[in-house]
C-alpha cells in the first residue's frame, strides 16, 4: 500500500510528520468475514461445560439475554453502521455530542485493558493443562505467556485490518465452529446409539430453578455473553457496501452466536450428567470427561489448542477495534495528542497500540506475579465491565436521537420498532449495571456497602475521571485536519 508523509496543519510547533497511508481499497472485508469476525469477538465454547450443568435450561439462560440484549444491540448497531461509518464513537458523536462519543469509545477501550490479561491467563492455563499441569500455578510462566502472546498478537495486528479480519474469522471457524459442531455431532451420536439423555429433556426442564439472588446474577450476567456485537462496526469502511452488507453480517452473527452458546452446552448435558460435570474440577477436565465417554480423550489437547486459537483470534478482533475508534475521534476532535494519532503504512494506530500494550503488560505482570493482585483481579474486571455498559447506554440513546435529529439520513437498514428495541436495550443494560453491584463469590462475607462503593469509585475513576482528563487537556492544535487512512468521508 502506498503511503505518504504529511504534516498536520494547525499543529503548530508540536506538529510532526504523520505518516498517512493512501486510501485503501474499499473492498477488503466481505460481509461473511465481518460476520465471522464479530462471532469471534463475542462467542466461544470455552466455558460450555459450566453452562451444560443447567441442561435444557441453558437454552433459557441464553435465550432470554438474547432477546433483551443481543437483539437490541445487534439491530441498533446494524442500523447505525448502515448509515454512519466509524463505529460507536461516531454514532454517539452524531447522536449526542463529540464528548459523549469520546466517552463511548473510551469505555469500550478501557474494558479491554483488563480483558486481555485474564484472557491470556486462560491461554497460559490451558497450555499448562495440555503440556505440564504444574506450570499453571507458576506466575513467571504465566507472565511470560501473557507478555509474549500479547505482543506477538499486537505486532501481527499492526499489519493491517485485512490480516486481522482474516485471522480472527479463520480462528472462529477452527476454534469455535469446528469443535462446537464436533461436540454436537458426538452428542447426537450418543442419542442415536440408544443412550438416554443424561439431562431431562422435557418442557419442565426448560426453565432454570430460580433460587434467588444467585440465579438472578447468573441470568443477568449472561446478558454480557453477547457484549461486543458492535465492536467491528469501526471497520465498515473496509466493506464494499456496508449499508447492505453490515446488517447482513449482523443477522447471521446473531444466529451463530446463539447457536454456538446453546447447542454444544445441550450436547454435553446429554452425555455427561450435570452432577458429574460438577465433579470434574475444571472446564478442561469436563471436556475430557465428555470425550472419555467416546473413548477419544486424546482429543482433549487438540480441543485445547483450538480453544486457544479461538481466544487469540477473538483478542485480535478486539485489538483492532476500540483502539481504531479512539484514533478516529482523537484525530477528528483533537482529543488525543499528535503522538497517539500516528498511524503506520497499513493505517494502524501504532502508538495507541504500543501504549495499550505497555498498560496491559504492567497489569499482566502484576496479575501473574503478585498473589494479592490475583485475589482481587476480578474486581477490576467487574469495574471495567460496568464502565463498558455506559457505552451501551450511550449507543441506545444516540440511536433514538438520530432517528429524530437525522430522520432522512440514508440508512441501508432501519431496525423495526427501534425505540422499543433501544428502550429494552437500555433497561437490560441498566439491570446488568445494577447487578454488577452485587458481590460475587470471591468477595466472601465482606460488606455489601463497602463493595458497592468500591465498584462505584472504580467506575467514576475509570469511566468518568479518566476521559474527563483527556477532554480537559486537549488542545485545538491536536485537531487533525488531514484525514487518516479511514477517516475520509465521515458522515
Amino acid at each position: 500500500m502506498a503511503s505518504t508523509e504529511v504534516t498536520a496543519p494547525g499543529a503548530g510547533a508540536a506538529a510532526r510528520p504523520v505518516k498517512v497511508a493512501a486510501m485503501p481499497s474499499a473492498r477488503r472485508i466481505t460481509w461473511l468475514t465481518m460476520c465471522f469476525m464479530t462471532v469471534s469477538a463475542v462467542a466461544s465454547i470455552r466455558n460450555t461445560p459450566s453452562m451444560a450443568v443447567y441442561g435444557l435450561a441453558c437454552i433459557f439462560l441464553y435465550a432470554l439475554p438474547a432477546i433483551v440484549f443481543l437483539l437490541p444491540t445487534s439491530l441498533v448497531a446494524a442500523e447505525l453502521a448502515s448509515g454512519w461509518d466509524g463505529g460507536v464513537y461516531n454514532w454517539v458523536r452524531q447522536g449526542i455530542t463529540p464528548q459523549a462519543g469520546f466517552l463511548a469509545i473510551w469505555t469500550q477501550f478501557a474494558m479491554t485493558l483488563t480483558y486481555y490479561p485474564s484472557l491470556l491467563a486462560y491461554v497460559a492455563a490451558t497450555l499448562a493443562y495440555i503440556f505440564m499441569p504444574s506450570l499453571a500455578s507458576n506466575g513467571y510462566y504465566t507472565a511470560v505467556v501473557i507478555i509474549v502472546v500479547y505482543w506477538v498478537s499486537t505486532m501481527v495486528s499492526m499489519r493491517g485490518v485485512a490480516l486481522v479480519a482474516k485471522l480472527s474469522s479463520s480462528s472462529m471457524l477452527l476454534g469455535t465452529a469446528i469443535p462446537g459442531s464436533a461436540l454436537v455431532v458426538l452428542g447426537v451420536i450418543y442419542l442415536i446409539q440408544g443412550n438416554p439423555s443424561s439431562a431431562p429433556m422435557n418442557a419442565a426442564a426448560l426453565l432454570p430453578q430460580f433460587a434467588g439472588l444467585a440465579s438472578l446474577v447468573l441470568i443477568v450476567n449472561n446478558f454480557l455473553s453477547y457484549a461486543g456485537m458492535e465492536v467491528n462496526a469501526v471497520h465498515v469502511k473496509s466493506m464494499k457496501d456496508p449499508a447492505k452488507e453490515f446488517p447482513k453480517a449482523m443477522f447471521l452473527a446473531m444466529a451463530l452466536v446463539v447457536i454456538i452458546f446453546v447447542l454444544p452446552a445441550v450436547a454435553i448435558s446429554w452425555v455427561v450428567p450435570a452432577k458429574e460435570l460438577t465433579l470434574t474440577a475444571g472446564v478442561m477436565q469436563a471436556f475430557t470427561a465428555f470425550f472419555a465417554h467416546f473413548h477419544v480423550a486424546w482429543l482433549t489437547p487438540i480441543l485445547g489448542i483450538m480453544l486457544i486459537t479461538a481466544s487469540l483470534g477473538g483478542m485480535m478482533a478486539w485489538l483492532a477495534g476500540p483502539s481504531k475508534g479512539l484514533l478516529q475521534i482523537g484525530r477528528q476532535e483533537g482529543y488525543l495528542p499528535p503522538f497517539f494519532q500516528k498511524v503506520n503504512e497499513h493505517g494502524i494506530q501504532v502508538n495507541i497500540l504500543f501504549a495499550q500494550g505497555a498498560i496491559v503488560s504492567v497489569i499482566a505482570l502484576l496479575f501473574a506475579l503478585l498473589p494479592n493482585v490475583q485475589s482481587v483481579y476480578w474486581i477490576f474486571s467487574v469495574i471495567t465491565t460496568q464502565v463498558y455498559l455506559i457505552m451501551y447506554v450511550l449507543m441506545f440513546i444516540a440511536a433514538m436521537r438520530l432517528r429524530k435529529s437525522q430522520p432522512e439520513h440514508p440508512r441501508g437498514y432501519r431496525a423495526p420498532i427501534l425505540p422499543v428495541l433501544a428502550i429494552v436495550g437500555l433497561v437490560a443494560s441498566g439491570l446488568a449495571f445494577a447487578i454488577g453491584f452485587v458481590a460475587p463469590s470471591q468477595f466472601g462475607g465482606g460488606s455489601p456497602v463497602v463493595y458497592f462503593f468500591m465498584i462505584l469509585g472504580g467506575v467514576v475513576l475509570i469511566g468518568l475521571v479518566a476521559p474527563f482528563v483527556f477532554l480537559k487537556l486537549r488542545k485545538p492544535s491536536w485537531k487533525e485536519a488531514v484525514p487518516g487512512p479511514d477517516d475520509a468521508g465521515q458522515a
Binding site: S44, S381, T385
Partner: protein
C-alpha cells in the same frame, strides 16, 4: 475466507505450523503411565467417596483419565491464588465484559473429595480458599 487485500503468506504458514505442532505435541505428551494399577485403585476410592457423599461419580476409566495417580491438573497446586482465580472465574461468562457470578454451592465441593484421595497434604489450602467464598444456589 474472502478478504480481498493481499496479506503476507508467511504469517499464515507460521500460524498453521505452530497450531499443528502444538496439537501433535499435545497428543504426544499425554501421560499414558497414568493408566496403571495405582490410578485404578485411587479411582475406585474416589468413586466410593463420591457415592458415600451422595454424588454421582464418573465411571472408573474417566476418573483414571482425569486424575491419574496424582490428581492431575487440579491437585497440582490448589493453594495457588493464580489457580484459584482461574477456578472461580470459569463459572462466569468467559468473553469480553466478563465478570464473576455467585458460584453454586455444589460446583467446588468435589475438589475436597478429590484432594482427600490424591493430595491430602494440599487439602487445607483448598479448604481455606473455599472458606473465603460466598456460595449460592442456581440449580
Amino acid at each position: 475466507m474472502a478478504v480481498q487485500e493481499k496479506s503476507p503468506t508467511w504469517i499464515y504458514v507460521v500460524i498453521v505450523v505452530v497450531i499443528v505442532a502444538l496439537m501433535v505435541a499435545g497428543v504426544a505428551v499425554r501421560k499414558h503411565e497414568r493408566n496403571n494399577r495405582e490410578a485404578h485403585v485411587k479411582a475406585q476410592e474416589l468413586i466410593a467417596k463420591f457415592e458415600a457423599a451422595g454424588l454421582k461419580a464418573p465411571d472408573e476409566a474417566t476418573v483414571v483419565e482425569l486424575f491419574g495417580t496424582d490428581g492431575g491438573a487440579f491437585a497440582a497446586d490448589p493453594g495457588s491464588s493464580l489457580l484459584q482465580a482461574e477456578l472461580a472465574a470459569q463459572y462466569g461468562d468467559p468473553g469480553p465484559a466478563s465478570r464473576s457470578v455467585i458460584i453454586d454451592k455444589d460446583l467446588l465441593r468435589a475438589g475436597v473429595i478429590i484432594l482427600e484421595v490424591y493430595a491430602p497434604q494440599k487439602l487445607a489450602a483448598y479448604q481455606e480458599f473455599l472458606k473465603g467464598l460466598k456460595f449460592g444456589e442456581t440449580q
